[in-house]
Symmetry: none
Subunit: 224 residues, 2 copies
DNA sequence: CGAAATCTTAAAGCAAGCTTAAAGCCGCAC
DNA sequence: GTGCGGCTTTAAGCTTGCTTTAAGATTTCG
């Protein structure tokens, strides 16, 4: 379970992140609306916890923009203000749930569970490009008859490449979105995973190729 | 990642440049507004860090002029004054972000990341002149049906020539903008790349020519 | 023509990226 | 607790192709 927290109060954000991590969630934290949008846009999260009052873009704007860009990730809005106006605004702009600060950690957990369960029951997505498919539930790479399991990191990278098929994705972008923006991983790590992925693409007999653009990044191309 | 710093306080400018270089950014530093404008205008930077109080032209004027000339490079303004008036002025004139001095290096890094990330995802530009196009994302040179990949240096030079199409660009300018203002490269290096570029222009069957102006520089002309 | 500037090319140098093996880590089963 | 298996990370050697150098050919201008 992979959650994005967008909250400018660093202490609060870290506290929430810690609670979630203790409950076996994988968590990314960012501190302003613009980052929230660009992270959320990757579409790799199971839920987003989003503060309303944020630098650069407020929470409403972020949700609205995410929905406009066809990102369906469930969003829980957080706000100190409990005015009715806010609630309406938040839900209108595409949020799925709403909590006022302060809140009990247990309540957040419960709402997250309910949101992600709902999603798990209804949605069964599969990302596709060219002759390959990605089973978003089982993390399998499928091409015609053949299929092979991807590890979580391989899977995340494949998902981002597919989401940006035909466009160039830089190593920095991959590192930030897969490992988190403050991580220390080396470029070589990405290179290694690209290598693994290429091997698996080949194994399932796909024509899709990962093109290297030296000093720029990688791009998914429909081979042939 | 290529950043331009425009800051008249030499000590501060160097300190910031050092920090960025340590983080694998390529950095150019200039110390007044006029230089800031002419460097920024090349359009080769991923971001510009721009002080407000500068000799010759202040930061607001520089941004405004850059935008007027259709340069979309993200700009972070720096200022000691934190008056509201300044903030509004900076953002109005086309800056993308704003920081007050003194600031934590980490904050600058974070803002740069967020700015360049936003740009990388949204913008998909292509520079054109005559019958040729430059795909700014994949670094490909395109002319009609044909296209060919350019290396980074070739690409930078092509970009500058196109940005200044019809005008003369000196070798010194090219060296400063492509290799950095304190680099030691020989003129012959530029000549070699011009030669490579001419060959690739011909390969894609373009009519555009790189005209040599002896002892002056090069100019991109629409052939025919 | 001769000197200086520029062009072209081949080859050397170097950095980016690829691949693979091995070590590390973590959860799970016994 | 121990050991196994799978995923992740690290590290090293290797490959590829961009960059620079250098030397000779060519052009331009006085």
């Amino acid at each position: 379970m992979y959650v994005l927290i967008v909250e400018d109060d660093v202490r609060l954000a870290d506290a929430v992140a810690q609670i979630l991590r203790n409950n076996d969630y994988q968590v990314d934290v960012v501190h302003d609306g613009a980052d929230g949008l660009s992270y959320g846009e990757a579409g790799i999260y199971d839920a987003i916890v989003l503060d309303v009052m944020l630098p650069k873009m407020n929470g409403f704007e972020v949700v609205a923009e995410l929905r406009r860009r066809k990102v369906a990730t469930p969003v829980i809005m957080l706000t100190a203000r409990d005015a009715l106006g806010d609630k309406v605004g938040g839900l209108d702009s595409g949020a799925d749930d709403y909590m006022t600060k302060p809140f009990a950690p247990a309540e957040l957990m419960a709402r997250l569970r309910s949101l992600t369960r709902r999603q798990g029951e209804v949605v069964f997505e599969t990302a596709e490009f060219g002759d390959i498919k990605l089973d978003l539930e089982s993390c399998d790479l499928i091409c015609g008859e053949k299929s092979i399991h991807l590890g979580f990191k391989e899977f995340s990278i494949a998902k981002i490449l597919i989401a940006n098929a035909g466009r160039v994705v830089s190593k920095e972008t991959l590192i930030e979105k897969v490992w988190g923006y403050d991580s220390e991983v080396e470029d070589n790590n990405v290179e290694a995973y690209i290598s693994f992925l290429r091997k698996k693409f080949e194994f399932v007999g796909s024509k899709v190729k990962i093109t290297t653009l030296r000093k720029v990044g990688y791009r998914l191309d429909e081979g042939e």
